[in-house]
Amino acid sequence: MPNSSRTSEGIAALLLRRKFLSLQNRVLSMTLYEWGRNTAFLLMGFWMLAGLFYGFLRVLRYLSGVELIGGLLIWKLTAMSLLTTFSMVVLSSLIISLTTLFYSSDLRYLMRAPVPLRWVFWDKSLETVFFSSWMIALAIFPYFLALGRVYHYGWGFYAVFLLLMVPFLVLAAVLGMGFTLTLMYCFPSSRTRDVVWVLSSLSVGVLYMLLRFSEPERLIRPDALQLVSEYLQYLQAPTAPYAPSWWLSQALAGYAGGRMSLFWTQAALLTGAAAAAYGALLWLAGRMYARGYSGAQEGRRAYRSASVPPTMEYRLTRLLCRWGGDPDGGESGAAAALFWKDRKCFFRDVKHWSQILLVGALIGVYLFSIHRLPLDTPDLKSLVCFLNIGIAGFVLSSLGLRFTFPSISLEGRSFWVVRGAPLGIETLMLEKFVFSLAPMLVLSTVLVAVSNHLLGADRFISWLTLITIWLTTWTLAGMGVGFGAIFPRFHVENIHQIESSAGGFVYMACALAYVGATVAAEAWPVQMHFQERLGRLHAWDWRYAGLSVALLAVINLVAFVVPWVLGRRCLQRYEGD
């Protein structure tokens, strides 16, 4: 007879112990190579955080030097940063909780085991809080480190910050989990749930666009407000009085300023709200989780024809095979088959639709922001068009992290099908490259061409930016596939584990470094172009222009070829996660 009278604490300890043991075994079983690799990643991460810290330090030092309103500005910025952090954790938890709460592989075992449902939920909710917040929390940490440094706050400030971040992040994640739990409870039918999921994403996208279109930046520009008193009133007003980010920023401001009653009130409000919200979530889970989990077990019915008609895809495949000089199929046919398979799998996954909708909103906001830039002279507008390559490159790198980098890992446990087929690794990588390249080229062209049009860039800058962004897109797609092949993770439960892996981090760091190097390499010809525009005779020194082109070619070649070749080699030698 199993021990049915195990206490709640016993169950909690048991569930936590298994996580601890998994972590311990993972660390202890690392080879020397893995120790070296992980240490290198940790160092890279540390340098990135250090970079962020010095960036924040400079900004905060500058703001603290502004007379009269310096302090107000800094706390306003702090409140806004925390609001952004809060929103990002809510969004992240919304996406992640669907997998962690309902589709984790260990749930099948846990649900069968004599563990009360609420404890299963508790276990999975801890995972959700961690996975949805650790990266965002890590990114905000240097900001507070810099804040403490600027004002010479003591260790107490950092301790308070770290302690209060826990209820803050829990509260944000609880909101996301609560939505997912309710959605799964109310819509156990998978099809309805999909529709609601897409509509929710659409609402978030529209809300984001509306928020941006309301031009909140006008409020932080003093010239947009008629009176100084209005501006001061704005700075002192809560950023979002009912949002936990405001409570946290007030608690921190209270502690830093020695206003302990404000600190205790706000800290109690935040902690109490987090405890109440989490308690309510656990209570709800007792009532809703079983039905939601049961609904999640149902597959999505497709009702598609099982016949094999001569579809357009067949005709196109055949055409591609002929172009590939391989009328009987062969590798060209296999690559075409992979392409169609990827297209089907991509568009049938509702999570991708929601992300496409959000990307659409991002493009809208991006172009609107460009349109509303307060630029006066044509020269300045053209210069911004050139610098826009950096911003567009950043957007493309981020999208690459979401769509291109995971493309090989997304073969998942079905990887044996292509690995066992007569298909070279190079062909597989090429197919993933082409699959990512096509939409990214359209997107990058829209971002740059429309921005150039909106700002009225001159002909030279227009062509230079357009050609550069095409080249950048090409290289970033290659880098994404290459790094994805160097760090494949076929045995993960959700795509976020691929993105937030060490490989994703390395890809992002390299992609950003590449974009920065591209902009730097083009700085010479752009400088000469502007000198010519400003009337300087013989502005062009063709040696520097040639050097710039050569440098650009080398940067792109290295950024494309090195990860590609390494990725091909790693994937050929791949023997399991």
Partner: protein, 252 residues
Amino acid sequence: MIEILGLSKRFGDLTAVSELNLTVRPGEIYGFLGPNGAGKTTTVKLLTGLIQPTSGTARICGFDIQRQTLEAKRRIGLVPDEPFVYPKLTGAEFLRFVGDLYGVPHENQRRRIPELLEMFELGRWGGELLDTYSHGMRQKLVIAAILLHEPKALMLDEPLVGLDPKSARMAKDIFKKIASRGCAIFMCTHVLEIAERICDRVGIMIEGRLIASGTIDELRRSHGSGAGDVHLEDLFLRMTGSLEYAELLKNL
């Protein structure tokens, strides 16, 4: 024809497969037996090019799996130990995908795919997404997929796990029929009754080493039992030292 020449595979300190030498002739079904962790699945992965050997090589129909990988793979059919398939494809689409990967002419696919789906009683499920399929249905689909491209060498890793009795019987008959057409079949299994019934020869592997290989009668003779009076199960337990379990049972 499958030829294995001095094949070894090490994972760090662990030798999963050690100096394996074996030939499976066309038309022959070779049963590969052994306790859990003996190295059977690793051998299948080596033979299909899913992982690379530490030393030695394997030839499929004369093509070296390391050097002439694509030519060799074109002739191989694989049923892995776990039938993972793309959850967002339908059954019919999965077969089309496999058909295209192996260059099966489209006219053949149009004719064969509905036939295969019907044969494995998946006809009415052919248009459903694979995430609605049970383990057994996915296993049947994977077996159907290898029939689509008519391989010359078949690697089966526990191919009958999860199949209902009717499907299991059909699968066995299918394997025999494929072998009769000249296909070499290498089959890992724990079900000794199946090995006894359909395999021409069997090999027993323990801790990465092939300790015995031959027809079941040859194994009986070499281990001091008269022909026909000892089942393969007893022979297997005697050779792998698993009879000690009787002592363990006393503690239950």
